[in-house]
């Protein structure tokens, strides 16, 4: 197939996202494998298109409302007109619905949660994480065009940057009046700790079992000069505020130490912390996906290890 490979660029608060750059890096690799052009679709002002130089060509349309409805309609229209063979869509809260809706409109497959993509005998095959990251599926489409939902972190954002300016074409999209209207953003409560600025984070997951046991994590965090954060289930229970959530819907953090207590390592959480410098995980499940991401792993009961660790840290600090 000679039709181009597309990526859907996403912007957040006026900036191209890191994930977009990662997709460009991945897209470039795959487009080169297929020997086809790489094009980016950007629903924003064309001034932002200049940073998409890794692509050969940018299709730019301004005035598309930032709702999944509008983006999906615009994307579907362009795909129908120009027939790329595949579109890489960031698998983020920002773009996944738009991708899913566009795929539905096109009656095209939308391969979810791909952590890698490559060409195999002219067909694109994605590696997808399933069942909370416990298994991986190699998935290919049986038709074209195909949309791929690509997880953040497949390639480095730096590999998606370029000094080159791509060719830019402004396109017209006729998006019908949609029934979903963006009103405003609600910022997370401040006045609490900014976990993205911490050198040390102690993360708690479902394994902490009870709100009461957060004390254990807090004790450790205090000794190490850091703060406590959590995976989604802990926040959903209301045991920690939203501002402490790490992961796909929460913060992305890069601390010097990320110490994980009872976190299984589902992809949505990994997304938010995989770039931490030193990742240490304690989990009773030897098969927990987190042990594939952590630098050091402890397959033991956190309720046994943490109290002893706390004691020894106290002693080590001259307490």
């Amino acid at each position: 197939m000679t039709s181009p490979l597309w990526i859907l660029a996403e912007t957040w608060r006026g900036q191209i996202t890191e994930t977009t750059l990662e997709l460009l890096a991945l897209g470039r690799e795959v487009a080169d494998q297929l020997r086809v052009p790489l094009e980016a679709v950007l629903f924003a002002d064309k001034s932002l298109a200049t940073s998409l130089g890794v692509a050969d060509h940018v299709l730019c349309a301004a005035g598309v409302e930032p709702t999944p409805e509008a983006v999906a309609a615009a994307l579907a229209q362009l795909v129908k007109e120009r027939q790329p063979q595949a579109v890489l869509v960031p698998w983020t809260n920002l773009s996944m619905d738009a991708g899913a809706l566009a795929a539905a409109k096109l009656n095209a497959p939308f391969v979810n949660g791909s952590k890698d993509l490559k060409a195999d005998a002219g067909r694109l095959v994605a590696q997808c994480l399933v069942y909370g990251g416990k298994l991986e599926a190699a998935v290919a489409a049986t038709v074209t065009p195909v949309l791929f939902g690509v997880l953040p972190g497949t390639r480095s954002a730096d590999a998606g940057r370029s000094e080159k300016t791509p060719a830019i074409t402004e396109v017209a999209v006729a998006v019908p009046e949609t029934k979903v209207k963006f009103q405003r953003f609600l910022e997370p409560e401040t006045g609490d700790v900014d976990i993205t600025q911490q050198d040390v984070l102690v993360a708690v997951g479902r394994g902490i079992q009870q709100q009461d046991n957060l004390e254990l994590a807090e004790g450790l965090a205090k000794l190490l000069g850091g703060a406590v954060c959590g995976s989604r289930p802990v926040i959903d229970q209301g045991w920690l505020p939203l501002s402490r959530q790490v992961g796909k819907s929460g913060m992305s953090v890069k601390p010097k130490l990320y110490l994980m207590l009872g976190v299984s390592g589902a992809p949505e959480h990994i997304e938010g912390m995989k770039n931490a410098q030193l990742i240490v995980a304690i989990n009773t499940d030897a098969a927990a996906p987190i042990f594939n991401v952590a630098h050091y792993g402890i397959n033991a009961d956190l309720f046994e290890v943490v109290p002893v660790l706390t004691e020894k840290l106290q002693a080590a600090k001259g307490g």
Partner: protein
């Protein structure tokens, strides 16, 4: 003598006044012994005395809405002291707890999780049922698992959840297996087919879950041939005697403590290693107050060479609950939010005051509860917690 609560199963809040137990309740003289002896009597909005008053006044709804009964750890202390012999913890309190539970719009999160896990995985810890017999791989002696090897067995050992899955419970399992082996007992376990006996779910008010578990376990027992049921779970023992027997469980029932006590003549000569411990024994509510088993554990401990027994201020019938019953095992955060003192901390301070090295227990909940409490009060260098069977096995010749 254990009281077989068969009459209790037929009583409801609707028919209460027409039953002999209802007449006993009516004879309440509001003396307040129940509230006075309740471990949470100072914070319980409606101790038994007030519940009876409200019930008579037709105002039970206020009691149910107050959620007061979530604070009841079903320790049998009130029932034990009632001068009218009202079977509080056997009849009235479970009925009120059940209704409190049914009309709760929101359950405390850990309790909800424990109950959902018990229903789904057969254990409150949420572990896979397939891993329930994994501890067997670490046993030093052979352990027969019935589903794989269905020959009849003399003893069916009902291991229970915390014993099977919790690391400290698995210490108990290994010790128990060694003791059975040393006595030449023909025993087997149910492995992954075993599910929680459900007594704590029942006493938290989730009677529907309890019924489901009982139906399952009675059917399971019917699949195998065994002469005697021996369990490591104190609450399991309690429920097998008082609930399962009226439902048709015909085999003899033992707790590991009563079983080993009965075999003490045979066991004692094998307890060769001297353990120079001063030991204080915590009487677990389900075994002691409810079933009168005060002597057996003490006989076992006294049989270990080198062991010196000392008693806590509150012992035998006056023992203070560890706080794990009636759902309390999963309500620590809820109690904390209400500002209650942790019963396990109160009790551990008493234990430490005896100067003993070892706190001996006989219920699987107690090991983790008291080990946590020791750390919290800073006593974990002064005292260790051991199940009675762990101490016996420690003294056992190789």
């Amino acid at each position: 003598m254990p009281v077989i609560a068969d009459e209790a199963n037929e009583i409801t809040l609707e028919n209460l006044w027409n039953t002999p137990e209802g007449h006993r309740v009516l004879s309440c003289m509001q003396c307040g012994m129940c509230a006075g002896t309740c471990p949470y009597g100072d914070v319980m909005e409606y101790p038994p005395r007030r519940i009876i008053g409200m019930l008579k006044a037709g105002e039970l709804d206020a009691v149910l809405r107050s959620q007061s009964l979530l604070s009841c750890v079903t320790c049998y202390a009130c029932m034990n002291k009632c001068p009218r012999g009202i079977r509080l913890t056997e009849v009235l309190l479970p009925l009120v707890k059940e209704q409190t539970f049914m009309q709760l719009t929101e359950l405390p999160a850990e309790l909800q999780k424990a109950l959902e896990n018990t229903d789904r995985y057969g254990n409150p810890l949420g572990e896979s049922p397939r891993k329930r017999a994994d501890w067997v791989k670490t046993s030093k002696v052979p352990v027969r698992i019935l589903p794989a090897d269905r020959k009849p067995t003399d003893v069916l050992w009902f291991v229970e959840c915390y014993t099977a899955y919790h690391p400290r419970g698995q210490d108990n399992c290994r010790a128990t297996a060694r003791l059975f082996h040393a006595l030449g007992v023909d025993f087997a376990i149910l492995g992954h087919e075993e599910k929680c006996a459900g007594e704590c779910a029942r006493l938290a008010g989730e009677t529907g879950l309890y019924e489901k578990l009982t139906d399952y376990t009675m059917k399971l027992f019917g699949k195998y041939r065994f002469r005697r049921l021996v369990t490591s779970g104190a609450h399991a023992y309690d429920t097998f005697i008082h609930q399962y027997k009226p439902r048709g469980l015909s085999q003899e029932v033992d707790h590991t403590v009563t079983f080993f006590a009965r075999h003490l003549d045979q066991l004692k000569p094998k307890l060769k290693k001297k353990l120079s411990y001063t030991v204080t024994y915590h009487d677990p509510c389900a075994l002691s107050r409810h079933n009168g088993l005060y002597e057996e554990p003490r006989q076992l401990l006294a049989a270990i060479p080198g062991v010196r027994l000392v008693e806590m201020e509150h012992h035998r019938e006056n023992s203070i609950c560890c706080g794990g019953g009636g759902g309390g095992m999963w309500l620590d955060t809820y109690y904390k939010m209400k500002g209650y003192e942790r019963l396990s901390e109160r009790r551990i301070k008493e234990a430490l005051a005896t100067g003993a090295d070892v706190l001996a227990v006989a219920c699987p909940y107690e090991v983790s509860r008291f080990e946590d409490a020791l750390k919290t009060v800073g006593g974990d260098k002064k005292m260790i917690v051991r199940d009675v069977v762990e101490l016996l096995a420690e003294s056992l010749e190789e």
